[in-house]
Amino acid sequence: MSADDQPGLYVESTIIMTTVRVVSPFVLTFALFVMFHGADSPGGGFQGGVIAGATVMMLAFAYGIETTREWVDVRVIAALASGGVLTFAAIGLGAIALGGNFLQYNEYLFIYEEASKYGIELVELGIGAIVASVAIGLFLLAAGYGHVVDGEGGEA
């Protein structure tokens, strides 16, 4: 192909990048805060997970999708999702093992007086991990539509 002049080079905006860079640690902190405080405020694992996912999307919009795809390892996403499921299942089934119902937190009270609260937090964290990884995964998948997926990310 003999087109010498490439279409105008697109450069990411410094302003957007810097703003996102400054804001992102606080947004992620807020996401985790929401995850940990599901019991006594509006929020919880689902909302926190979505905000955490939004942090990654924000980076992707500022820095470019491909750059972010390289940064976010597919295996990390897969590990997050499966780790979340495992936490959820372990806490839930643990209660059954102790003679209660699925996710019956007060079965754990013999360990420590506030154990049921920690149980809830752990489950929220698990849900948050699942939601965040699914949100990021879906986003990268949708953004990569039409691109050749290289490597063996298929099993994720």
Binding site: Y10, S13, V20, V27, G43, Q47, I51, A54, M58, F61
Partner: protein, 91 residues
């Protein structure tokens, strides 16, 4: 005491009215950019209205919602700037 909270609610109502006024631009366009900048204003006004309601009822949990809404509003704008600019490119 009652007066003061009513005043805050009234201001919140005013912001909602302004959001509705800005909706005219979302409707009229003419370009997508005009619509998005108007949506951004609607979003900002929504955040302020939620925050004012939080102040009026002294409900700090509403502030969390406003914070998330502000985040989404920002996300919308930069996402949009990406989607229009990079057709045939990165997206």
């Amino acid at each position: 005491m009652v007066e003061f909270e009513t005043a805050l609610l009234a201001v919140a109502g005013a912001f909602v009215v302004f959001a509705v006024v800005a909706l005219y631009r979302v409707f009229a366009g003419p370009t997508t950019f005009d619509r998005i900048i108007a949506v951004n204003v609607v979003g900002t006004n929504t955040v302020i209205a939620i925050a004012l309601v939080a102040g009026a009822f002294d409900q700090s949990v509403f502030l969390d919602i406003a914070l998330v809404y502000a985040l989404l509003n920002f996300l919308l704008s930069i996402a949009f700037s990406k989607f229009t600019v990079e057709r045939g490119g990165v997206l």
